[in-house]
């Protein structure tokens, strides 16, 4: 009889342990799911906003080329084309990172070369940087003054 009670007790212990373990697993899975759901909601709104990022990243390379061409050609017609192009991109959330003459900021700028000029200030911008809404799509590539 005692033996029987003991073995039942042991079984209850085992089962309790199993129940706890399973409940733990269940909570863990549920927690993962809830977190995933929250993150999904967060990313979903981001995805909609930044869906164009990859495309815009490529398009600004073409914009660079157009501007380089304009630097050389100085054509009034092309000037309008570039302006139109910029306007379209602006409507999609693109915004120029102001860099010329500004204090160097590694959050928005990438220093390519150090040249004589005002210390820690941008002497010239080699490749323009852009924001897409509040995120940096491409940092500006700049030359920074050495202070000499």
């Amino acid at each position: 009889m005692v033996k029987k009670i003991q073995s039942s007790k042991k079984e209850i212990e085992n089962l309790n342990f199993q129940v706890n373990e399973l409940e733990g697993n269940y909570r863990r899975a549920l927690a993962d799911y809830r977190n995933q759901e929250r993150r999904f909601k967060e990313t979903q709104s981001q995805i909609v906003k930044f869906a164009n990022a990859t495309l815009l990243e490529k398009i600004i390379l073409n914009l660079d080329s157009l501007e380089m061409a304009q630097n050389h050609l100085k054509d009034a017609g092309l000037e309008i084309v570039i302006k139109q192009f910029l306007e379209t991109l602006k409507n999609e959330g693109l915004q120029l990172i102001e860099s010329d003459g500004k204090q160097f900021d590694p959050l928005t700028m990438d220093c390519i070369e150090v040249v004589p000029g005002k210390k820690n200030h941008v002497v010239s911008t080699l490749i323009k940087g852009y924001y897409l809404f509040d995120k940096i799509l491409r940092p500006a590539k700049v030359k920074v003054g050495s202070g000499k």
Partner: protein, 629 residues
């Protein structure tokens, strides 16, 4: 217990991962990327991309590749070589260990690594929305005790309990799922941004033993980029007489273009570099346009790739293992995406390397899995199975129609409505198949049953709903229900997901091997089904309203239909032959139908829309519905 994150603390790049829902997942950095540069500016406390961007301006204060100094004596070869190539100052510190001097402050390599780990911790906390206190960090297999200790200290400085230090190749093997109780020898070939490692591991009962390791701590993707840049500069000089390497602005653009070209040439065989207005000569702009083929790239970097062969040989010799004993070769590090690298590894080991895991992420993922094992996440969370092969049924023309696609997580259920293939068909056979091949006969039969008592109806009219349901234990229930009568039949198949790895592999390989043949066969069947539908539809029209056609036209159509029918009955017919006859028949039907409606139109002058298109539209509708044999 909070989540244990896995951190790949790399020489050039680092990555973070965590177990979620029983799977390892990369945590994106605050910049939204999957990895970040292992670069630190300790004074302003900048880490990652931000630190990299100010490196040129602030080179003596920006520390990169600090991993090379971890636990190293200043007098040692490694520290001396690092000092040679580093713009920052390295000195001897306590116990002769290498330390970094910036301004009048000194930093131990641990402190610098800690900054990298702090970023990892912060980014993980932002992603998980909870505090992170525990981590698993990876180190190269050749790290000695003091180097491992230093890595652990770095974690502690960053406020992390380092639950375990794991070897990078071991983590990679975990990420590749190679811990499933098999005893085997595997090779990990890791060619990253700045270092190359090859390791030989022996797996047994979930224990990994590093048998040998070798490599080159100064060989990686950056060297590949340099070769391409050099080539572009020299070609441009040859053509235009201008040395672009003297022009920092041009060089920056070439650098970006070279990296892009390198990446593109892993998936295409030729790429074009287009950098207009790269420089000027005599006031005239010069443009850089150049095509680089994959073969050219391979030629340029061949000596770099060849450099990885000697370490492979040494690693084998040290492990006292023959190439034939190796069960698996896995690839880690971004450079292993290059087809030539894969080829060299394949040729050396005589084995197709496994590249199923993203090579930039494998180590961090493996570290996260190790973290999951420690926290109990991996063992406890119900690991949901996936169906290893597609499940479906046989439909008209002996075609396999998939219901549950391969790699679907189970439990899962899917229903689809089918119909009959011929008029007054009293029953349908549900033939359940498993496999990736489009033709039913080439797949594995799991079972079959018959649903009868279908009321007499023209083909395509009865609606039979077929449902596949796999439960968590891999038990497949298939039912077929006639929607008109509610009559239902079902079958239960056990172990639908429980195939041996070999079997799954064989079936997948067969599917790949015969892909071309199968596609042709399937095309022929589709074409035949299309022809069959046209024949039946047209004959029906002829029967119902044949009196409206003139006898000549009717005969002409009949003849063309007969020819088409004969063609599809031939055993040696081809898709093209059926297609030609089908087109001819379709055109003929359309022509006569048009004439018919025109004649009718002249007589009745109808006001509704013209119906000349109807026979064609009908054919199309019939094609859409799938039909059970």
């Amino acid at each position: 217990m909070s989540k244990i994150i896995g951190i790949d603390l790399g020489t050039t790049n680092s990555a973070i991962a965590v177990m979620e829902g029983g799977k390892a997942k990369i945590i994106p950095t605050s910049e939204g990327r999957n990895t970040f540069p292992s670069i630190v500016e300790p004074i302003k406390n900048l880490v990652g991309d931000v630190a990299k961007r100010q490196m040129v301006l602030n080179s003596e204060n920006t520390i990169f590749s600090v991993k090379r100094l971890m636990g190293q004596k200043f007098s040692g070869k490694q520290a001396q070589k690092t000092k040679e190539i580093s713009p920052y100052d390295i000195e001897a510190g306590k116990d002769g260990l290498a330390i970094i001097k910036i301004g009048d402050k000194t930093y131990t390599p641990q402190e610098i690594s800690a900054k990298i780990l702090q970023k990892a911790k912060a980014d993980a906390e932002a992603y998980l929305g909870q505090a992170v206190t525990d981590a698993v960090i990876t180190v190269p297999a050749y790290f000695d005790d003091s180097q491992r200790q230093a890595t652990k200290q770095a974690g502690e400085i960053a406020g992390l309990n380092v639950q375990r230090i794991v070897n990078e190749p071991t983590a990679a093997a975990l990420a590749y799922g190679l811990d499933k109780g098999k005893n085997e020898t595997v090779v990990v070939y890791d060619l990253g941004g700045g270092t190359f490692d090859v390791s030989i591991l022996e797996l047994g009962d979930g224990v990994f033993e590093v048998k040998s390791t070798n490599g080159d701590t100064f060989l990686g993707g950056d060297d590949f980029d340099h070769k391409i840049i050099e080539y572009i500069v020299s070609e441009f000089k040859k053509e235009n007489g201008v040395d672009l390497s003297l022009d920092k602005q041009a060089l920056q653009r070439i650098k970006d273009a070279a990296e892009k070209a390198k990446i593109e040439l892993s998936s295409t065989t030729e790429t074009e570099i287009n950098q207009p207005f790269i420089t000027q000569r005599d006031g005239q702009p010069l443009h850089l346009t150049m095509k680089i083929g994959r073969a050219k790239l391979e030629e340029l970097v061949d000596d770099l790739i060849q450099k990885t062969i000697e370490p492979m040989k040494k690693a084998l010799a040290d492990a006292k293992i023959e190439k034939s004993q190796i069960a698996e070769v896995i690839l880690v590090g971004g450079m292993t995406r290059m087809p030539k690298v894969q080829q060299v590894v394949k040729d050396f080991f005589g084995k197709e390397p496994n590249k199923s895991v993203n090579p930039d992420e494998a180590v961090a993922l493996g570290a996260a899995i190790q973290g999951g094992v420690i926290s109990g996440d991996v063992k406890d969370v119900l690991l949901l199975d996936v169906t290893p092969l597609t499940l479906g049924i046989e439909t008209m023309g002996q075609v396999m129609t998939p219901l549950i696609e391969r790699n679907t997580t189970v439990p899962s259920s899917k229903s689809q409505v089918f119909s009959t293939a011929s008029d007054n068909q009293p029953q349908v056979e549900i033939h359940i198949l498993q496999g990736e091949r489009p033709m039913a006969a080439d797949n594995k039969t799991l079972g079959s049953f018959i649903l009868d008592g279908i009321p007499a109806a023209p083909r395509g009219i009865p609606q039979i709903e077929v449902t596949f349901d796999i439960d968590a234990n891999g038990i497949l229930n298939v039912s077929a229900k006639d929607k008109a009568t509610g009559k239902e039949q079902k079958i239960t198949i056990k172990n639908a997901t429980n195939l041996s790895d070999e079997e799954v592999e064989r079936m997948k390989q067969e599917a790949e091997k015969y892909a071309e043949d199968d596609k042709k066969k399937k095309e022929l069947v589709d074409k035949k089904n299309e022809a069959d539908t046209l024949i039946i539809q047209t004959r029906k029209v002829l029967k119902d309203s044949g009196d409206k056609f003139d006898a000549g036209a009717k005969e002409e159509i009949e003849k063309s239909l007969n020819e088409l029918e004969e063609e599809i009955k031939k055993t040696d017919t081809t898709t093209e032959a059926v297609d030609t006859k089908l087109k001819a028949a379709t055109e003929l039907v359309q022509k006569h139908a048009e004439a018919l409606y025109k004649a009718a139109g002249e007589k009745d002058k109808p006001t509704e829309e013209p119906k000349a298109e109807e026979p064609k539209a009908d054919t199309e509708k019939a094609e859409e519905g799938e039909v059970v044999e």
